[in-house]
Amino acid sequence: MDSGGQAGGLVIEGLVAGYGGGVVLDNLSLVVAPGESVALLGRNGVGKSTLLRTIMGLNQPKRGTISFGGMRIDKREPFEIARAGLGYVPQGREIFQELTVEENLLLGNLTAANADQIYSMFPALESKRRTQGGRLSGGQQQQLAIGRALMGKPKLLLLDEPSEGIQPSVVSEISATLLRIIRDSGMSLVLVEQNIEMALSLADRVDFFDSGRIVASHKVEALRANPVLIEEHMSL
């Protein structure tokens, strides 16, 4: 593929997707270069989570293409997409409630000898390794969901509202850890967030989402210099 090959990252062109007869994503195009972090901002219900689900193959596109690393992934099974190097942390985290922390992490990479690298990133998880995932606090569950995705050493991490329902101190802790991981690994990030501070701290670029497509795109520096832009797009 042309643009997919040259970008090497995630290339979405003319994507139309939805549930049943309804269209949620309407002719959406998006490019995320290797190593780039993009935050998707927009009101609730404009299709941000649907986009991530469609990228992961959980929802079939009606039209358009999705490529990653030069390979078409829009007709692939979710497990093939994951193996192509995409990590996914869904909204609501979806950790395996009855499995232990360690088992949850190992599911991110069944051939891993252990989960020690994740414990060094999220020390709070190490003391809970034998605890059932469902018994963790919201913040710990979020760390677990992120750690589980990182076990597979993804080239691109899709993160859906990681700050949802988590106290602010833990949100900034998670942000700091993620920022360090992104810098160290060169991993790309697509972050769906309502928490503007978290989005700005992690992303290089912010794409504003409305009615199933991206309506504006700004560098984070530009938004920091001119916060009115954020207000404009968020109150559309």
């Binding site: 992961m56 193959g57 959980l58 099974e77 979710p78 497990f79 997409i81 994951a82 193996r83 996914y88 869904p90 979806e94 395996f96 409630q97 009855e98 499995l99 088992e103 190992l106 599911l107 991110g108 990479n109 069944l110 051939t111 589980r148 995705a149 597979g152």
Partner: protein
């Protein structure tokens, strides 16, 4: 006293074999969301596979090891040809597997005719237990069943494959998004579940009459076991099988098989009425 001992031993035998059958059915449902109406037919195929292997001159116990593999291979083919086309449509799995059951039964009628066959038990004699002679082969069947059940548990709770399977049972989409090959797991699951039914059929072959309907008597108790024991756990069907199989064989021994059916169904309805989610899941929720 002697009679009671024999009834207990026979009941244990029936319970353990029913556990094998229920376990296969429950694993296929739990992992694949497929209600396999053809499960009894895989048991029936286990009987015929056993008979064919013995006719080919394969020693009895080697045939007993090979027959489940033959049935698992047939399961693999059925999964590829029929089952995989019905995923995500629960009602269609019932129709499709019911059709598969008809095809398998009629195939046996075409190949072997509608009549029944018998397989002679291996010459392992009998031992005196509680003052009564008891056939050793029945003890061997119990041992094989128990070992297979324990092995299945060890696999589910002690291996990475088992971990992946438990993750698929808990949340299929999320497991797939972590890179777990759900397609291959589905294939292996159906083959394994069929193989368990095939093992039950092969082991029971010398004790029952082998005909195309040989599996019918097992499916209903196996489904009842799952409903009584509860879905979503590996232990639920075992608890259910203990209850259903035990009640059935004890009532059949002291009253009659007709009474046994009445008692088992009444008890099952009562249990499901009081514990709609089954005995095991109910207990876990309260804990």
């Amino acid at each position: 006293m002697e009679q009671i001992a024999t009834v207990i031993l026979d009941s244990t035998n029936a319970i353990l074999v029913l556990m094998l059958v229920s376990l296969g059915l429950a694993i296929i449902f739990g992992l694949m969301n497929v209600i396999n109406m053809a499960h009894g037919e895989f048991l029936m195929l286990g009987c015929y596979a056993m008979m064919e292997l013995i006719n080919l001159g394969v020693p009895f116990f080697m045939a007993l090891a090979l027959a489940p593999l033959v049935v698992a291979a047939i399961g693999l083919i059925a999964e590829e040809l029929v089952i995989k086309r019905t995923y995500h449509r629960l009602i269609d799995t019932i129709l499709a597997t019911w059709g598969l059951a008809l095809v398998l039964r009629q195939a046996m009628v075409l190949i072997y005719g509608p009549g029944s066959y018998a397989v002679s038990p291996p010459d392992v004699g009998s031992v005196v237990l509680f003052g009564e002679p008891y056939p050793v082969y029945r003890l061997i069947v119990m041992g094989i069943s128990l070992a297979t059940i324990i092995g299945t548990f060890a696999f589910f709770f002690g291996s990475r494959w088992g971990l992946a399977a438990r993750a698929v049972i808990a949340n299929r989409d999320m497991a797939a998004c972590l890179g777990i090959n759900t397609r291959r797991l589905d294939r292996m699951t159906f083959a394994f579940g069929s193989g368990l039914a095939g093992l039950a059929g092969a082991a029971m072959a010398p004790m029952i009459s082998i005909d195309p309907n040989a599996g019918l008597g097992w499916v209903v108790p196996a489904f009842l076991s799952i409903l009584v024991g509860g879905l979503g756990t590996v232990s639920g069907p075992l608890v259910g099988a203990a209850g259903v199989g035990g009640l059935d064989s004890v009532t059949a021994a002291f009253a009659s098989p007709v009474w046994a059916q009445l008692v088992v169904f009444t008890a099952a309805i009562l249990v499901i009425r009081v514990f709609p989610n089954g005995l095991v899941s109910r207990r876990r929720r309260e804990a």
